[in-house]
């Protein structure tokens, strides 16, 4: 799976996610990617998320929308980050349905996070003419 989130100069957010699905899947199997709130979600009032990982688990917890729900709560009540909200969503998916995955998240102010519960996730971010990237936890 691949995906992207962005914030433009007007503060509009967007997400895009695309996938070949799951290795040796049944013919006709559709996972989280094309489902609103699961493979991605974008709302100018909160932010945008693109997800990857175990699709059936992501659908069960509607991961992208769940993370934006946490962004909303954390911002209002504690001023915490999109990073914390992303971790909360991934932790919930792991504890409730045993699913692993990763996300990229932005809020309308341009704060961003790349978080994953798997061993690796390839990611990159460009902001203020600076490129950030990583593959392993902590990079």
């Amino acid at each position: 799976t691949v995906g992207a989130v962005a914030v433009d100069a007007e503060g509009n957010v967007a997400c895009a996610t695309s996938t070949g699905g799951m290795l040796n899947k049944m013919e006709g199997r559709v996972g989280d990617t094309p489902c609103i709130g699961s493979g991605g979600f974008a709302d100018n009032q909160v932010g945008a998320v693109s997800t990857t990982g175990h699709g059936e688990s992501i659908v069960k917890v509607t991961l992208a929308r769940l993370i934006l729900f946490h962004v909303e709560l954390l911002t209002v009540f504690s001023g915490q980050s999109v990073e914390a909200a992303s971790d909360l969503g991934l932790a919930y998916m792991k504890s409730r349905v045993g699913g692993l995955g990763g996300v990229v998240t932005v809020d309308p102010q341009g704060h961003w996070a790349t978080r994953f519960s798997t061993r690796q996730m390839a990611w990159a971010a460009a902001q203020k003419d600076t490129l950030h990237y990583g593959l392993y936890t902590g990079e």
């Binding site: 962005a6 967007a14 290795l23 006709g28 559709v30 991605g40 990857t52």
Partner: protein, 174 residues
């Protein structure tokens, strides 16, 4: 507020011999998306550009390089969503399309629906003038090798009942 593009190239295990290409691919896609923003493009233009680049890169599981289904075929899904008006477009189980993400955007921009699937999505693509590509052009040697490795010995790929025992814990990540 600073404009930003953030991309992901999939979670799970990335074999060491593919890690550098994966890293280079996401960096290139982020740069491409950011270039769109710098030219004054919208966040939607930026994410579609970034994801199109990743779809065209055979080191990622989307577009060219997609994993194969049990029959050894490519079936792809994609979604876009615009935060300004909560507009959204998606396609599922599409074949023979190089950039499903661009087709998803057309669903959003040109129809009143949110998702088109399978042959209906392919027919819509034709009606929009999106050219189809040969199925083989989306299949890499690596994806074919992984498909073969994950077939149970002696399994008939057409028999979906066998699939459950084959795929329960292998290649679970999409």
């Amino acid at each position: 507020m600073f404009p930003v593009v953030v991309v992901q190239g999939g979670a799970g295990h990335i074999p060491k011999e593919r890690s550098e290409n994966s890293r280079a691919g996401v960096c290139s896609a982020a740069r491409a998306g950011y270039a769109v923003l710098r030219r004054g493009g919208s966040s939607m233009d930026a994410v579609v550009e970034a994801v199109s680049q990743l779809e065209n890169n055979p080191f990622f599981n989307a577009g060219c390089g997609s994993v194969l289904n049990i029959r050894g075929e490519v079936e792809m899904d994609a979604i876009v969503m615009d935060g300004k008006r909560l507009d959204s477009g998606a396609v599922s189980a599409v074949r023979n399309i190089a950039n499903p993400i661009q087709l998803a955007r057309l669903v959003m921009d040109k129809t009143s629906h949110t998702c088109l699937t399978a042959e209906g999505a392919n027919r819509f693509a034709r009606s929009m003038g999106v050219s189809e590509v040969p199925p083989e052009s989306l299949i890499t040697d690596y994806s074919r090798m992984r498909w073969k490795e994950n077939l149970a010995p002696g399994a008939n790929p057409v028999d979906s009942q066998i699939l459950k025992s084959v795929c329960v814990n292998r290649g679970k990540m999409g």
